[in-house]
């Protein structure tokens, strides 16, 4: 895998294969043989060109509530503002192709476009990404924290959890499934939430839904805002940070350095300023991803036309990591740009 000398070498044939844990094998075996036992009558199934038994099973028989939520949410994404339903999106085979991410006992950090997710253990989330219509996440179970970069003309990001739909511009928030509904905590920014036709706007520090309505003796004075009604018509409410109960201070969970690095990579085109800030912070903090971030930052500055900044960063890189993986390239780039 690694060669001698200054330069890391990655030899084909020796890239590590990340083994599936025993629990995964047990799950595969259990599901496989359960399916074999029940599939005998339908042996004339689809040909091998489309052997999507796993996802098909999930879409069709993966639990009534979850499937209904997923299908409803997929349809919701396809609706335009007037509520009309456009033609379903399809890939080359004519089928929709959402992806599904499920965690077992360990959390997972994932980036989808400009959205970084931290998926809690024992959670499952459907991702349906479309360049034009935006990204839809359907939280099947468990909890996920979302960080959405505030990009002006980006298509919408929507999270569906049970019967709760959350529309996002740029923010950080966590959603957990609660039966057929959901609980939402907003760390930064504002989200717009719709449930049963009622729309609420949640600001930083908000928790939704509010605590149970307090007993009459403890109710707020008449001049305080009333609890939102469940009117069927859309009804915009501003949700105060603290809906009348003590909430522990909220602190947005920190993304892993790897997730931050990947987020910066994805932001290089759409929001280079944000990407630059993330790279700089990673490089300043040190750690495993610092050399990659510092070098990537230099390349970004070069591409943005600031050769002086790029040179300084490359020099910093060589000073801090003279034997780093990108050291030879950094020297070559400095030589190409000439002495200054």
């Amino acid at each position: 895998m690694t060669g001698g000398g200054d330069r890391l070498e990655i030899r084909p044939g020796s890239l590590p294969v990340e083994q599936l844990p025993d629990v995964s094998w047990q799950r595969i075996e259990r599901k496989l043989f359960a399916q074999l036992a029940s599939a005998a009558p339908r042996s004339a199934a689809a040909p091998v060109a489309a052997p999507r038994f796993g996802r098909r099973a999930w879409l069709v028989a993966g639990g009534a509530a979850a499937s209904a939520a997923a299908v409803a949410a997929v349809l919701l994404l396809g609706r335009n503002d007037s509520g009309q339903e456009p033609a379903p999106r399809a890939d080359q085979s004519g089928a929709r192709t959402p992806s599904r991410i499920a965690t077992a006992d360990a959390p997972s950090a994932v980036s989808v476009g400009d959205v970084s997710l931290e998926i809690a253990p024992n959670s499952a989330i459907l991702v349906d990404e479309d360049r034009e219509r935006g990204v839809l996440f359907v939280l099947e179970r468990g909890e996920t924290t979302f960080r959405v970069a505030p990009v002006g003309d980006r298509p919408p990001v929507v999270v569906q959890a049970g019967d709760v739909r959350i529309e996002v511009v740029g923010t950080a928030f966590a959603v957990s499934r609660q039966g057929d509904s959901a609980r939402v905590l907003v760390y930064e920014g504002v989200v717009s939430l719709v449930q049963q036709g009622e729309r609420s706007r949640l600001g930083p520090g908000s928790v939704w839904p509010a605590a149970p309505v307090p007993a009459p003796a403890e109710q707020a004075p008449a001049d305080q805002p009333a609890a939102p009604s469940r009117a069927p018509a859309p009804n915009i409410k501003e949700s105060p940070p603290d809906r009348g109960r003590a909430i522990p201070p909220l602190e947005a969970p920190r993304l892993t350095d790897k997730a931050r690095y990947q987020t910066a990579q994805r932001l290089e085109q759409s929001d280079p300023g944000k990407a630059r800030a993330i790279y700089a912070e990673l490089a300043r903090r040190g750690g495993v991803w610092a050399p990659m971030a510092l070098y990537a930052h230099a390349l970004l500055e070069d591409r943005l036309g600031d050769q002086n900044a790029a040179r300084k960063l490359l020099q910093q890189y060589l000073a801090r990591y003279p034997d780093g993986f990108n050291a030879a390239d950094a020297r070559a780039l400095l030589n190409e740009s000439g002495p200054k």
């Binding site: 060669g3 599936l20 595969i28 990659m292």
Partner: protein, 212 residues
């Protein structure tokens, strides 16, 4: 299986005979599976599951749907076993199905998030941690670049260059001629090199893998 193939009753057997015995074993196992023998099905699954996973991993990289894909392969294997005639080794026959399942997956999906379930963060204090991180990063970039490569070319490239499978074996798995297989690998490499022109890490990978 190799013991029974290579040494019957303590007598050495020729490679041809050993190969024939292996295929007879394969055929017998396949027939038991096709006949619905659960013990045989579990035997086949446990014997071939690691190879199936490895092949899928080589073609697709780290993938959050790996469990589903492994399951898809074996469902297709068990669905088709009654058509296995022993012309090829069972492992090769299963590899064909595996590569088709992988190709179908590549053709169907859009670029999606890479699940990091099985990619634990590396502690900075571990020796060589930054190199391990760079290897992972290079692998991720490689697979992101491969996402833009034609599915057939990708499979040929992954099996030959990443897995190290001989071209003739790749051709066998993909049921293609040797020339067509070489061409697929070459075209995939050319596309990756085009994408690597601004990515030193990916370029390093491709340079290291080039045949001298």
């Amino acid at each position: 299986m190799s013991d029974s193939a290579g040494n019957q009753g303590g007598r050495a057997v020729s490679p041809e005979r050993a190969s024939q015995v292996v295929r007879e074993d394969d055929l017998a196992l396949a027939r038991r599976c096709a006949g619905g023998d659960p013990a045989a099905q579990r035997e086949l699954f446990r014997e071939h599951r690691m190879r199936v996973h490895r092949t899928l991993y080589r073609i697709l990289g780290s993938n959050g749907e790996m469990e589903d894909l492994v399951q898809d392969v074996f469902i297709e294997v068990f669905r088709s076993l009654d058509r296995f005639r022993g012309e090829a080794k069972l492992a090769t026959w299963i590899a064909r199905i595996t590569s088709r399942v992988a190709m179908a997956h590549v053709g169907r999906r859009r670029p999606v998030a890479t699940s990091l379930d099985s990619v634990p963060e590396v502690e900075a204090r571990e020796p060589g941690a930054d190199q391990v991180a760079e290897v992972r990063e290079a692998a991720e970039r490689l697979y992101r670049a491969l996402d833009r490569v034609d599915a057939v070319q990708r499979v040929a490239f992954a099996l030959h260059v990443i897995e190290g499978m001989p071209l003739r074996e790749v051709a066998d798995v993909m049921e293609a001629s040797l020339v067509a297989t070489k061409s697929r690998v070459w075209r995939a490499r050319r596309e990756l090199e085009r994408r690597a022109s601004r990515d030193p890490l990916l370029a390093g990978f491709l340079a290291a893998g080039r045949t001298p």
